[in-house]
């Protein structure tokens, strides 16, 4: 896979839930571009304007807990986010992100979350499970994707994956 490079937007809290990522009243919306304008509205309404295509989100543990709404990864990816880095993810958010081919849910150590700052530039090499903080020169390890998940990611989502 190609390396990813982008700017970090850091929200270090644990348990950032789907009601915060994409609040309930917008569940009736299914247009991706419109959902993007409400991404992270429960935490930072200015978020969509701060993000450029290819950026990363860095958060605390259990990111995406709460509902099964696929609106959450859609809103983030349509806003420009290509990977979320966190110590852990809620399971449905994780599946949605991978199977929909929206963005990569990347698990990293909590200590790595602490060492990476808002607006740092990162380079992510999924094949080597390696993350380089271009701003500081530090490098980190990401948790390897299980092989089936990696294959689905390489297919661009589950649509083209044949069991």
């Amino acid at each position: 896979m190609d390396k990813l490079k982008g700017t970090v937007h850091k929200y270090g809290k644990d348990n950032i839930d789907t009601d915060v990522i994409l609040p309930g009243p917008y569940l009736k919306i299914h247009d991706h571009a419109e959902l993007a304008t409400h991404a992270m509205e429960g935490l930072d309404p200015g978020f969509p304007k701060k993000v450029s295509q290819g950026d990363f989100l860095l958060t605390g543990a259990n990111f995406g807990c709460g509902s099964s709404r696929e609106h959450a990864p859609i809103a983030l990816s349509s806003a420009g986010i290509t990977a979320v880095l966190a110590p852990s993810f809620a399971r449905i958010f994780y599946r949605n992100a991978v199977d929909g081919g929206y963005l990569l849910p990347i698990e990293i150590e909590r200590s790595a979350v602490e060492k990476i700052s808002d607006k740092n530039t990162l380079e992510i090499d999924v094949d080597k499970n390696a993350i380089l903080n271009v701003t500081t020169g530090e490098s980190f390890v990401m948790k390897q994707f299980p092989s089936l998940i990696k294959k689905i990611i390489e297919c661009g989502g589950i649509l083209h994956y044949k069991p």
Partner: protein, 422 residues
């Protein structure tokens, strides 16, 4: 193997499976509602642009649809979504579409058991995170997103990472003012909202065996709030008679082996449990109701797939009978059949005479979408399952989660109240 592992093994045609195995399972039943349904249709539209077309769904007789989150439609977008969903179910030959205002309908997770739609030992996937609820019938029931539901509709199968199982042994007699809601809040308070991430939560022990089905379903419903992949209770004679009243479909329950291995076994002495409340802004932020005595509220809400089953309404009615509410109180039965039964039992009269309003069955205020949204700084006590910031309205509103007994008692005093003190 545990009960969950046995069901996954059967559905994947493997002699055995173990935690962390990733396998494809055959889906037995599938549900979408008025939020996930249009989301799934949107996925199919995107796939069509990529050259993959849905010609027919794998088995329309195994699929059912509910209208619950945005009914009655409060605006044009919701109305159009319902219309789109209705046309879609017709086109693909799905006969079980539970329509608002047309006979039986209600909250998706309530219909799954109320209508006997899911059977013990089955793999049931739903386009909603509280699909876990139906594990109370002894099924492997999990929530999935739109893409996974779309894939399952097309192929009748989906990948599963086999979860480890956490076993909760509930022992002792349930005290008179304590309900399953208090048990599950206590458990989430102990293990945390990510305490069961990627895992199955299984309930067993004497207390579980004595619980009626409505109460068992409250336990499994809120396994979602602990991050669990699924909640499960082995089917027994209570399950059998519950289902016999609702379906003629035959079933054979699968039970875990005696020597199954569990990630952890935890025992709870239920006789010592007190009425429990989860404070804002997390279902795990618990406290005994008595310690919050005096906390003023603006609203009491008795509704949702968690707390508006017939048993929940009976519990609230017992407290509210002949008394007046002091704050605005909404009662929203979880399904039309429950509404009707509550009316026949005189419960609806009790609620109306107390000054509460009774709404048509829907998700209503539970997800803050419409019908009773909270204003800034308003405080609500609710029988629902989530109290994240903004869940029931303004991000600066506050929701306390509790059993129907606690919510009804609080409605009568205008402040958080332990039902033992009424």
């Amino acid at each position: 193997m545990t009960s969950t592992e046995k069901i996954i093994a059967r559905a994947s045609s493997m002699p055995s499976v173990a935690p962390d195995d990733v396998v494809f399972v055959k889906v037995d039943k599938l549900m979408v509602h008025d939020v996930s349904g249009p989301g799934v249709i949107k996925v199919f539209e995107e796939w069509a642009k990529k050259g993959v077309h849905l010609e027919r769904i794998w088995n329309p007789d195994k699929v059912w649809v509910s209208e619950d989150h945005f009914v009655p439609a409060a605006d044009k977008i919701s109305a159009n979504n319902i219309m789109k969903l209705t046309n879609w179910t017709k086109k693909f030959g799905i006969k079980r579409h539970y329509k608002y205002g047309l006979g039986q309908y209600g909250i998706c997770h309530t219909l799954s058991h109320e209508e006997g739609l899911v059977l013990p030992g089955e793999v049931y996937v739903g386009g909603d995170s509280h699909t876990n609820t139906t594990g109370g019938l002894g099924a492997f029931a999990i929530g999935l997103g739109h893409t996974d539901i779309a894939y399952s509709l097309m192929h009748g199968q989906i990948w599963i990472k086999v979860p480890e199982t956490l076993l909760f042994n509930l022992e002792g007699q349930l005290p008179p003012h304590v309900m399953a809601k208090d048990i599950i809040l206590k458990i989430i308070g102990d293990i945390g909202t990510d305490g069961a991430n990627y895992r199955a939560m299984q309930f067993s022990g004497e207390t579980t065996k004595q619980l009626i089905m409505d109460e068992r379903l409250t336990l499994t419903n809120m396994t979602t709030e602990a991050g669990a992949k699924n909640g499960i209770i082995d089917a027994d004679s209570i399950t059998g008679s519950y289902l016999r009243d609702r379906t003629h479909e035959p079933f054979s329950a699968l039970k875990g082996d005696l020597d199954a291995s569990y990630a952890e076994k935890l025992t709870y002495e239920i006789d010592r449990l007190e009425p429990t409340v989860a404070k804002p802004y997390s279902p795990g932020n618990i406290s005994p109701a008595r310690e919050l005595q005096g906390t003023e509220i603006d609203k009491a809400y008795i509704g949702s797939c968690t707390g508006a089953k017939l048993h929940d309404l009976r519990a609230a009615g017992k407290i509210m009978k002949g008394k007046k509410v002091k704050v605005r109180t909404e009662v929203v039965p979880a399904a039309q059949s429950i509404y009707l039964n509550a009316m026949n039992e005189g419960l609806i009269g009790i609620f109306l005479e107390s000054g509460a309003v009774v709404g048509p069955p829907t998700c209503g205020a539970c997800c803050g979408a419409h019908m009773g949204v909270l204003a800034k700084n308003e405080v609500c006590i609710s029988t629902t399952n989530r109290n994240f910031p903004g869940r029931m309205g303004d991000v600066e509103s506050k929701t306390y989660l509790a059993s129907p007994l606690v919510v009804a008692a609080s409605a009568l005093t205008g402040m958080i109240t332990d039902p033992r003190d009424i």
